[in-house]
């Protein structure tokens, strides 16, 4: 009874916040405040169990892919929407689909979880399987050092009792897998060594500073074999599958490999490699990852500067230096010092630089000998200036922005559409 009441109250909160256009975490908070065990109860009887997807980078994209692959196999999947990877976000997602019984009716829950919150979520939701993507230099202002992230992911993986699937090209994760003491079966995905060494800056995974593992190099069951633009070829347990990636970049191919590897383990004999290819064609772009916005009929490619490795890989796989480039970074990136370690060889100028960190980036580009057209810290005039540029002769207008600026830009573009409407 309490559960049903809590769900109804949570749904009321969800309805109210939607009317206001407010944040999606509030209804989840309401649910968890009234029924703290709601999450635990919701998932405890799912036939295929609970899968966690975690790591520094690619969580949303890979979760989206894994859900797509499972659904292509006819599996009924519960998942949390992109980025809603904190407990209240997961609880909010729950409210949208849980029956009043409080138990999800789907066969499996595939959840993207934040590295830090994942530690406690693992205790509550007891994932049967865990997919670990990578350990990268990320959010130093929050995590301080990569080793803390390694420990968090080791704890999360330790909760699994069915499958742990790990990136074979991430030395930190290989060491985590080698130290796992539980009953879960460990398997790997990775990149063909020749393809990996052809990537200008590799995969940008964090180095292992101490305690090198003595374990033999893992043999991945799923391997990215070829990559050309957005077309990749992946071998899955012996079968070769061509897949269309959501955007250019080896990291996206690695995400496919991770998702396919986990799906293959979960489904066993039901798994069909060709459904990976069809699932990839049917994916929606995850918010702000390789996304194309349209403004007044003109496409604008958005590269999200989520963290150093994703920025590096996105830059490395640009087809050519963008003819028109907008860059905006604000306090969502408290310390952009790391941009001095970024190889900006793939861009040759910036047209408009914006955000509260604009001047700090201007200094970076100054030392990189990358000319900057204008620095306009306020987003609206900066955006107007950039959008006023004539359509580029080749390619599309391109933006490199952090998450927070991306959200503001989407809002502003909506406003600008209205302002410019006849």
């Amino acid at each position: 009874m309490l559960t049903a009441a809590a769900i109804l109250l949570g749904r009321a909160a969800r309805w109210a916040t939607r009317l206001r256009g407010g944040g999606s975490a509030v209804p989840g908070r309401v649910l968890l405040a009234i029924a703290p065990r709601a999450l635990e109860r919701a998932v405890e009887r799912m036939p295929l169990g609970v899968v966690f997807v975690s790591g520094s980078n690619g969580k949303s994209t890979t979760t989206n892919m894994l859900v797509g692959i499972l659904r292509a196999h006819g599996v009924d999947v519960f998942s949390n929407p992109s980025g809603g990877n904190l407990p209240q976000g997961i609880a909010s997602a729950l409210l949208a689909s849980v029956p009043l019984s409080g138990r999800l009716s789907e066969e499996i829950a595939v959840l993207e979880v934040d590295e830090a919150y994942g530690v406690n979520l693992a205790k509550v939701l007891r994932p049967s399987s865990v997919l670990l993507l990578n350990v990268q230099i990320d959010q130093l202002n929050r995590f301080f050092e990569p080793d803390r992230v390694v420990k968090m992911l080791a704890t999360i993986a330790g909760a699994a009792d069915a499958h742990v699937v790990v990136n074979a090209d991430d030395d930190n994760l290989v060491a985590v897998a080698a130290r796992l003491a539980g009953t879960a079966e460990v398997s790997y995905f990775g990149v063909d060594p020749a393809l990996l060494s052809a990537s200008p800056n590799g995969l940008a995974n964090a180095e292992v500073y101490s305690g090198r593992t003595d374990a033999a190099a893992p043999v991945p069951r799923v391997v990215v074999e070829r990559l050309a633009g957005v077309d990749a070829s992946v071998s899955i347990a012996g079968a070769h599958v061509g897949v269309r990636l959501p955007a250019r970049g080896l990291h996206y191919a690695v995400d496919v490999a991770g998702a396919a590897a986990m799906a293959e383990r979960l489904l066993g004999a039901r798994f069909r490699p060709e459904l990976v290819a069809s699932a990839m064609l049917g994916l929606d772009t995850v918010y702000g990852r390789g996304e194309v916005l349209t403004h007044r009929g003109e496409d604008i490619e958005v590269i999200m500067m989520k963290n150093p490795p994703s920025l590096q890989l996105n830059l490395d796989y640009l087809e050519e230096a963008p003819e028109q480039l907008f860059v905006a970074v604000d306090e969502g990136t408290p310390d952009p010092s790391w941009m001095y370690d970024t190889d900006f060889g793939h861009i040759d100028h910036v047209d408009v630089l914006s955000g509260t960190k604009a001047w700090q980036l201007a200094t970076r580009f100054g030392y990189g000998d990358i000319p900057v057209g204008s620095v306009v810290p306020d987003l609206k005039p900066a955006l107007e200036k950039f959008l006023a540029l004539p359509k580029p002769a080749r390619g599309t207008k391109t933006m490199i922005v952090n998450y927070e600026q991306m959200m503001l830009i989407r809002k502003l573009l909506g406003f600008l559409e209205l302002e410019n409407a006849p």
Partner: protein, 251 residues
């Protein structure tokens, strides 16, 4: 005769997760813009040190990375101290500065000797000091970003880099600022140890040119530095970046 500078970058692989390589880039760019030939020598664990250097840089890194270089550092420490005594300027950032001080006390209280290059000692603590920081110093207003779990004590008579206007500084996050003004960093002759990222030299170019002058003096070269329009343009962006930080901190 062409002037030249040799810069030694200590452990760039381990102690370089926070963009501190920007300090070396700033030194190189600013020296080359003045027609000075620059060589950057990277020293990693197990490498042999070069015969001589004019400037030494060490960046910051996680505790595990610090531990990974500690034995090698202990082996080269006598050479580093000798260089410093001969007038080679050292720039040491956060974790690298901790290692080059007199000692490092771990969170559990275990104390290990440092390389003894800087007149400072550090205790590691759980509370992290994270955020933008502004200092007043003899060289003007300095700014940057600090992210450390450390309490640094300067030896008697040692000079801090500056007085903290906003931020934490050497006393760290647990500091209860009493009557003493909080200080940040240390200046020892021509050398600087500091918690500031940004990175420090691109954000505060006055210190970049001081290091170049000190390096040239050590090399026995003319220390005059021309004004270069490209650098003046970069320095204007850095001044605006410092001003933006000060404004965010309500200064």
């Amino acid at each position: 005769m062409t002037r030249s500078l040799s810069i030694l970058a200590l452990y760039p692989r381990q102690l370089g997760i926070n963009g501190d390589s920007g300090n070396v880039l700033a030194l190189r760019t600013r020296a080359e813009a003045r027609g000075i030939a620059v060589t950057v020598v990277e020293h990693n664990v197990g490498d042999a040190l070069p015969e001589s250097v004019d400037i030494v840089h060490i960046g910051s890194g996680p505790r595990t990375a610090q531990l990974a270089v500690r034995d090698d550092l202990a082996a080269i420490a006598p050479r580093l101290r000798a260089w410093k005594e001969s007038g080679v300027p050292f720039l040491a950032i956060a974790g690298g500065w901790q290692l080059l001080g007199a000692s490092v006390a771990d969170e559990d209280g275990t104390e290990a000797p440092g390389a003894g290059v800087f007149p400072s000692r550090v205790a590691l603590v759980a509370a992290r000091a994270v955020g933008e920081i502004v200092l007043e110093s003899a060289a003007g207003t300095l700014a940057g970003f600090e992210n450390h779990g450390s309490v640094t004590t300067l030896e008697a008579g040692a000079t801090p880099l500056g007085t903290v206007t906003s931020g934490f500084g050497n006393a760290g996050a647990a500091s209860s600022t009493g009557t003493e003004p909080a200080v940040e960093g240390v200046v020892d002759g021509t050398s600087v140890g500091t918690n500031l990222h940004g990175p420090f030299l691109p954000m505060n170019p006055v210190w970049a040119d001081r290091f170049i002058v000190a390096g040239l003096a050590h090399a026995g070269s003319d220390t005059a530095l021309d004004d270069v329009p490209r650098l003046a343009a970069i320095d204007e962006t850095a001044a605006n970046a410092r001003a933006a930080i000060a404004k965010r901190l309500g200064l």
